[in-house]
Symmetry: C2
Subunit: 359 residues, 2 copies
């Protein structure tokens, strides 16, 4: 039994219910820019140890909450846990990012993939969720997450971080039916993974479509969006009938917001290249919006940083439906004081945009 939530402004904003100020959290808020994170990371030995040991994952998840007035915690994990559980063998090579020992090389590799049972192959994830929920003690909601099927497929086929995406694009053009099979399997795996996180106690979920933006509009609507939609639909209702808001974030997806708004997600993440006012007018009352500070504004002098925060809150305008965030994860060498200034600026200026104007 979890403690009742003391702060649900984040969940209400995602549902576009009245709020008294704009909630704020930060992608990768538990991360390398924090010295206390780097200390735990060192003790853990490897990034994968950190992810797969619930006590450590819990500790780093809670770290930014001790420093900042954040309105949500996000499970500390990696987007590539699913392919790892599928047997691809995830490794993090210093300075090179994630790699798979056994990437997808053939249609047979695709057909061999099963949907991992999250409570066995990925048990460390729901275990971490349960532990974090207990330690959070109702302070703020906990966000669970997954990579999108398309983004997972990209890493699984490329075998590692890529900037050119030759292999996945080759598969897309040469063997689209194989790619569709891979994506169908992945969307089932993502549904099961998110359902397990929800059963273990997360209050909201987010799907990261990090590489949807490398596609043409037609490709996005063929290979990314329908599988992100299927992953959401496949979750099913939680047994305890809680309402779990959902967020879809396609980096570089600013041109496709209207299509994204029709998939059933409650909110869309925006990177920093989209004007949040134009986005709001495009999606109307279909979804809430999350974002979209330039992550490099955190390197700016604090007055300039605050101005950027104010600009985004003001561009969104009056009323509920905005969760303040960066347009991408926080960079590892950002000064934690600047993060604090950003968060405080949201607390300071946003209440003005939520006052009920007397009729």
């Amino acid at each position: 039994m979890n403690a009742p939530l003391q702060n649900d402004v984040f969940l209400r904003a995602l549902k576009r219910q009245p709020i008294e100020r704009t909630p704020v959290w930060m992608m990768r808020q538990a991360g390398r820019y924090l010295p206390e994170y780097r200390a735990v990371r060192e003790r853990a030995g490897s990034f994968m140890n950190l992810c797969t040991t619930p006590e450590w994952a819990c500790e780093v998840t809670l770290q930014p909450l001790a420093r900042y007035r954040l309105d949500a915690a996000i499970l500390f994990s990696d987007i590539l846990t699913i392919p790892d559980a599928m047997g691809l063998g995830l490794e993090f090579v210093e300075g090179e990012g994630p790699q798979f020992r056994s990437p997808i090389m053939s249609p047979a590799d695709v057909d061999r993939l099963g949907v991992p049972d999250p409570e066995t192959a990925l048990r460390y994830v729901p275990d971490a969720v349960r532990l974090i929920r207990r330690e959070l003690d109702g302070r703020v909601p906990l966000i669970g997450f997954s990579g999108s099927p398309w983004t997972l497929a990209t890493y699984m086929v490329e075998g590692r971080s890529s900037r050119e995406f030759r292999k996945i694009k080759a598969m897309l053009y040469d063997a689209p039916e194989v790619l569709h099979r891979l994506l169908a399997t992945l969307s089932k795996a993502v549904s099961a993974y998110l359902a397990a996180q929800i059963a273990a106690g997360v209050d909201a979920i987010m799907v990261f479509d990090t590489w949807g933006g490398i596609l043409t509009p037609t490709q996005y609507q063929t290979f990314s969006l329908p599988y992100a939609e299927a992953a959401l639909k496949g979750i099913g209702a939680p047994v305890d009938e809680r309402v779990i808001p959902s967020i879809l974030f396609t980096k570089g997806g600013g041109q496709w917001l209207s299509a994204m708004a029709d998939t059933g997600y409650d909110a869309l993440g925006l990177d920093w290249t989209t004007d949040i006012r134009a986005a709001r007018s495009e999606v109307g009352d279909r979804v809430a919006l999350q974002g979209n500070l330039d992550p490099q504004a955190l390197y700016a002098p604090i007055p300039a940083l605050k101005e950027e925060v104010l600009r985004i809150i003001d561009r969104f305008g009056h009323g509920s439906g905005h969760v303040f965030n960066l347009g991408h994860g926080v960079w590892p060498d950002v000064n934690p004081e600047h993060v604090g200034a950003m968060i405080e600026a949201v607390h300071e200026v946003s209440p003005l945009y939520h006052r009920v104007i007397p009729a």
Copy 2:
């Protein structure tokens, strides 16, 4: 005196005048994917030698025309010739891309910059234009080009290709007035450079804003677009009163097309993430559009490649105002036969979209 043009379908498309088929050319069409280019590149010893020797620049400019039914040639050069002429010392390190020996490190470095005289410091460029025009003998128009002021500033401040753009973003946030001074100088330099190319004989110009897409909408409208506009306005009318169509290409600029369409350029380049039908409806009759095949479609089997070509031509729809191109430069390891198939597909299917329908 140059020979009269035998094929002006490209120029007419840019002016949205009636055409009988969609013109086609390809960014980086003179490049490493061609074995005959690699042979000249080897003889030249260095990439800079190739750029700065008019005979070699002319030879590689003409190479793709011997193979393919292209509707334009583009001057073989680099976008970083202007900062090189400003004294920054351009070098190409194998496998690392361009680097400057003396990047911009301080406000004093910015104030020290002059506007290079293209006919002295950059004489190899108008010389190459004159030679190419002679050798082209009126077969197709010749495109001159420059990097945009913002994109040049990015390289000059970062000192090299960057993926994070920390230094230029730091300047943008910490010292915007210094960045504005740099951009003002660069827009004058770009105007003078393009005017010299026009005087030497190019028939159209293109401004490459390769890094405009890393900006927020407000930053784009503050630091990139006004200087691209000023660079165009600063060119002035050519002494011989020719009409020189102009193209502005911001990679990642699909969300800002409407603003771009109001700057005086005749056409906008589109990368592959934008739906050309939506773009056409957004810009209306203000500008023509150039693009926007996924450059990785050239790795596809030829039938799939042709389908992509047809899709783009069909999405643009009936009538003038479209120049077929890739959404980015051709990759070096593309099969030249696939390039040929793409170009022939444009010749084959596009006339259907330019038939005059009887009233």
